[in-house]
């Protein structure tokens, strides 16, 4: 397998629109990197530049230390799996999977062995004589993956491969991709806008917005220590709650409410005394308590959890709480809550405030 070094890559289109700004990433051998972000953030463009389907405007791309910035797609030894499967409808599954090797004029017997091995890995052995139209969406996506596997590429690239599947199939196929990664121990780059896919699949996540990398880290790092408000709001479902507050001694003063700070939190905010900051609290870090009162505006029971949508009494600031278990709140009820974990962000830069930790 392979290492991939992406160094200061930019993408500027002919109409001078810049889609990617100074993208830097070192992908380790056998690592699964997930690029995540909202539509238009430049994640697919980055992947396409890596694949060779888009020109790189500036920067360098190294595969195993070799500069492949200007190399055509066919010479990069990478395989890409698309959202739309891109299977040939008139060919059988076997022929689809063998196609790229046939074009390379490989020995038919070698092709046969590789196709059978890939089909075995993906559980497609019984489907090899069928046409793509006879398969389900999940099976078709597996064929698309199989087509990549037979090539034994150095790097696998996935461009939102699960977006065309329904929720159930998406979950199942996601687990298959994870198993495939473990089995092949291949270097993979995976693009998605679905944070669940990112959190469950990735060794490391690259979170992007407006063409800029916002944070690179493990799923836990992005969830637990987001670098800025964007990452904090993008990772986690329901998204993090944000409150405009002022640091006042051992308290945070909001509009009509106060939140007390622990000594450790006071240490983190030492340089922000008297200044306005953004307080971030994940819905799952809110529990029933008596720190401040809210008015329930809606509640949704999800079985294991209950989502309670509230408005903070006196200020009208909205917040969502994810409470454990089945709770029976009605619209208009008064509910008391406590924050069990807080995140602090600089109001001007939107960057996380971490103190001297």
């Amino acid at each position: 397998m392979a290492t991939l070094n992406i160094q200061h890559i930019d993408k500027i289109y002919d109409n001078n629109v810049q889609a990617v700004f100074d993208f830097n990433l070192d992908v380790k051998d056998g690592e699964l990197i997930v690029l995540v972000g909202p539509s238009g953030c430049g994640k697919s463009t980055t992947l396409r530049m890596v694949a060779g389907l888009e020109d790189i405007s500036a920067g360098k791309l190294l595969l195993d230390g070799k500069d492949i910035t200007a190399a055509p797609a066919k010479d990069r030894d990478m395989a890409m799996v698309f959202q739309s499967y891109a299977l040939y409808g008139h060919m059988t599954i076997y022929e689809n999977m063998a196609f790229s090797l046939t074009l390379r004029k490989e020995n038919p017997n070698v092709i046969h062995k590789k196709v059978l091995a890939a089909a075995e890995i993906l559980g497609l052995t019984e489907q090899l004589n069928k046409k793509p139209s006879q398969l389900s969406g999940g099976q078709r996506q597996r064929v698309a993956m199989g087509r990549s596997i037979v090539r034994s590429p150095k790097v696998f690239l996935f461009d939102e491969p699960l977006s065309n599947l329904d929720a159930k199939l998406r979950g199942a196929t996601r687990r298959e991709i994870l198993l495939l990664h473990k089995r092949l121990n291949a270097t993979m780059m995976y693009v998605t806008h679905d944070q669940t896919e990112a959190l469950t699949l990735a060794d490391r996540i690259v979170c992007m917005s407006m063409g800029h990398v916002q944070q690179v880290g493990t799923p836990l790092e992005l969830y637990d220590s987001p670098d800025n408000v964007f990452v904090a709001s993008f990772i986690g479902l329901p998204p993090m709650n944000f409150f405009d507050v002022k640091v006042a001694g051992d308290k945070l003063q909001g509009k009509g409410y106060t939140v007390s700070l622990t000594p450790e939190e006071q240490g983190i905010l030492r340089g922000y005394q008297g200044k306005e900051i953004t307080l971030g609290v994940r819905p799952e870090n809110i529990t029933e308590g008596s720190d401040f009162k809210t008015t329930v505006t809606n509640s949704e029971n999800l079985g294991m959890n209950t989502l309670v949508y509230t408005s903070l009494a006196g200020s009208g600031v909205k917040a969502t709480a994810k409470l454990k278990g089945w709770k029976t709140y009605k619209v208009g009820d008064t509910a008391g809550f406590t924050f069990t974990r807080k995140h602090f962000f600089d109001k001007e830069t939107t960057n996380a405030i971490r103190g001297n930790r």
Binding site: T92, Y94, E95, P108, N109, H112, K113, V115, L116, L128, N129
Partner: protein
């Protein structure tokens, strides 16, 4: 199944790869029949061909095209019975030499007061070549399919026996 044995792998490939060689031979068989048919009436002198033979010839050619095309699809999928139909069609191509071409080659007609052959030696030679090549191609297609389908069936039986 010994996947290190090239012969075994080649046999196993037949489970997924169609018999395109036999099918292509059929298409060429059809092509040479068309050459024969197009070439035949170039020697139309007077009204020699204007009898029931021309009707039979046209109908036979249509049937030939349809049947051989159908057989090409059959052999593509290793169905042995289509090979027998191809053998009949192939042998018939040889028999056809003795019908219209040979009779026309031996027949004489009056053109401008002189006796002339309906079909000259050169055209007769081409007619023979087209029909012989067409027949040989169909026979080859049939024989290849019989060989391959026999191998495939034996292989499938072997696989089933191993599964059981």
């Amino acid at each position: 199944m010994n996947m290190d044995d090239e012969k075994v792998i080649a046999r196993d490939r037949m489970r997924f790869i169609r018999n395109s060689r036999s099918a292509v031979l059929c298409y060429f068989g059809i092509l040479f029949d068309v050459f024969y048919f197009v070439n035949l009436y170039q020697s139309d002198v007077g009204t020699y061909y204007y009898n029931y033979n021309i009707g039979l010839s046209v109908i036979y050619n249509l049937l030939f095209l349809l049947i051989v095309f159908l057989c090409s699809e059959g052999v593509k999928n290793y169905v042995t019975s289509y090979s027998y139909a191809l053998i009949v069609a192939g042998v018939m191509q040889f028999v056809r030499i003795t019908q219209i071409p040979m009779k026309a080659h031996n027949a004489m007609v009056m053109v401008n007061g002189a006796e002339t052959k309906v079909m000259g030696d050169g055209q007769f030679m081409w007619q023979c070549i087209f029909l012989v090549v067409s027949g040989v191609l169909l026979l080859a297609s049939a024989l290849i399919n019989i060989k391959k389908s026999t191998e495939l069936n034996a292989h499938l039986k072997e696989l089933e026996a191993k599964k059981a």
